[in-house]
Amino acid sequence: MHLRFLHISDIHFQVENYQSRRMRMRLLTKINELNQVNPFNFVILTGDLSHQGQGFNENQMRFLKEILRILNLSEKQIYIIPGNHDIRRNGDRTDLINEIVESNNPSNTLDEYLENEENKSKILSSFDSFSTFYFDFLTKEYPLNDIHFLLETENYNIVHLNTCLIANRAGEEGALLIGKNKLLDCLSNLGVDNNKLSIAIGHHTLECMADSDKNAMLSLFDDFNIDLYLSGHVHRAGYNIEANQYNNLLNIVSAGVHSDEYALGGFGDFLIQDGVARVSQYIWNSEHEYWTLNNTLGRKMENGVLEYPIPKFSINNNRSEDEINNKKDKIKKELSELFSENERIFKQYGPFSITAQHTPVSEFAYMWKEKCITDIIPNNKKILEILESNKELISDDKLFILCLYKNHIEGFEMNHISKYKSSNVPIFPEEILTILD
C-alpha cells in the first residue's frame, strides 16, 4: 500500500494577522512542492476552521478549494470534522451540558442524553453553521445525528469523531466526553477483523478527554484495529505512541495554521508505505517566513520524520517476508541449475573454450552450435519465463538487469537461428546471476 495524506488543523480563519496570512499563503506553495515529488491522496482537516464561533465564509471555502486544486484532489478526498471554534454556543445547550457535567457520572449521562432525541437535538444545535458549511463545500450532508461516522474506501477507513459534544467553555480540557456508546456503534461498522489502514480523526487530543472516555476510546480503538488518531486543538504539534493496549496506537497532533502568542504554525505530512507510517511535521519559521521540517518534537523525530511500523501490517509484513524469502530461495535454486548447465556447455564447447583457444577449426564448434539450439536457447527462455513470472520479487533498482538479459538472449537466439546476425548483440550480463539478491 502506498498512501500519502496531508493533515491540517486549526486554521482559525478569522485570525488574519500578518503571520497567519503569510503562513497560509506559504502553505499553498509548500504543499504544491511536496505534491510534485509524491502526490497526496487525500487531506484531513481536524477542526477549527473558524475562530470563536464566528462561522464560515467564502474565504475559508476558497482557501480549501485552492488546497484541493493544488493537490489535484476532488471534494471526495478531503475529510473534515468540527472543532470547538466551529460551534455556536446557546443557552439551552449550555444548561444541558452543565447538567451532564454536574451529574454523578457525566460519561454515562451523555450516553443517555444522546439516546434521547430532544436532548441530542439540543447538544447538536450548536453545529448548524458547521453542517451548512460542510454541505456547501462538499455537497453532502455531515451525518451529525450519527454523532461519529465511518467513511470506508477501498484502501483505508476514516473514523470521523465529534469530540466537541460538550465543548462549551475555556479550560474544559481533561473533562471532555466522546459519547462512548455512539463511538461503539460507529466502530462496530468496522468489525473486529478490520485489516485496512484505519485512521480516527477528532479535534481534541486524547488528553483533552475525561479519563473514563479516554480509556474507552483507547480500548475501542484497540479492539477495532484503529491505527492512527489525528487531532489538533492544542496548537502545538506532537506525537505519542499509546502502548498500554494490545495494539499500539499512534497519536499525532497537528499545530494550527494561524499565529498568536501561543500557537506555533504546523501541519503534518503522512506517507504510508510497506506497512510503515512516515510522519513529517512541518513548523512555521516566523522570522524568515517559511515552512520547515520540525525535528523538535521528540527523539523519535530527530530527523523530522517519525517512522512508525503499523502493528497490523508489521505482522503481515513479517509473515510475507518469510514467504517471499522462501520463494526467492526456491527460484534461485531453479535458476542456478539452468545457469550452471549453460555455463558448463559454454566452457566445454563455446568460442572461449580451451579447444577454441588452441585451434580455429574443431568439431567442438559444430557441437557448440547444436548445443546452443538444443540446450542454451531453451534454458535462456526458461530463465526469462521464471524471472518474468516472479517480477515482484525483483527490486525496482534491479529490474533493468532483466531488460539487459532479455536483450542478450534475444540477440543470442537471432545470432544462432536467424539469418540476421550481429556482433553488436549485448554480451551476457553477469548481474543477472544476483538479480534476486
Binding site: F339, N342, E343, I345, F346, G350, P351, F352, A356, Q357, H358, T359, P360, V361, S362, A365, Y366, W368, C372, I376, N379, N380, H408, I409, F412, N415, I417, S418, K419, Y420, K421, S422, S423, V425, I427, F428, E430
Partner: protein
C-alpha cells in the same frame, strides 16, 4: 547463457599458421604469401591470384564487410577463420554485390576449387543439401 567477454577480431598467431598451412596444402594452390598482418595473396595453380582478408570476427555482418572493404583497394575474399564464427545473410550479400566471397574456413577451402561467380557463390555440400530441403538459414 554466458556468452561474454572480449572476442579478439584479429586472428591469433596459431590461426594464421593454421591458415597458411591449410591453404598452402590445397591442391589448387601453388603459393600463399602474407602481404600484411591480415592480408594474404594466394597464387593458384592456374596462375590466378586471390587476395584474402583474414579475420576472426565472431559474427561478420554488413557493417564489418563494409569496414574491411574500405581498408583495402581490392580483395577477392574475406575469411573468418574460426569455425565458431559465422556471418549474416546481409554480410554475404554485400560482399557478393562487391564481387567478394565471404566465407568460413571450410567454405573457403571448397570455394578455391572454383573461379568467378562460382567461387563467390560457393556452398558446401551440407549447405546445398540444406537448401534443397528448403531450410532458410544456411549459416
Amino acid at each position: 547463457m554466458p556468452e561474454g567477454g572480449r572476442y579478439e577480431k584479429r586472428p591469433r598467431p596459431e590461426s594464421i599458421q593454421y591458415f597458411l598451412g591449410a591453404i598452402g596444402r590445397h591442391n589448387k594452390v601453388r603459393k600463399i604469401e602474407q602481404v600484411e598482418e591480415q592480408l594474404f595473396k594466394i597464387t593458384k595453380t592456374n596462375g590466378r591470384k586471390v587476395l584474402v582478408h583474414l579475420t576472426n570476427i565472431y559474427t561478420v555482418s554488413e557493417a564489418e564487410v563494409i569496414e574491411i572493404m574500405s581498408s583495402h583497394n581490392h580483395i577477392d575474399a574475406i575469411v573468418t577463420i574460426s569455425t565458431w564464427n559465422s556471418y549474416s545473410v546481409s554480410g554475404k550479400d554485400v560482399a557478393k554485390a562487391n564481387k567478394i566471397g565471404l566465407f568460413l574456413i571450410d567454405e573457403f577451402m571448397g570455394a578455391l576449387n572454383f573461379e568467378g561467380n562460382q567461387f563467390i557463390n560457393y556452398l558446401t555440400p551440407y549447405q546445398r543439401e540444406q537448401l534443397k530441403k528448403g531450410k532458410r538459414s544456411l549459416f
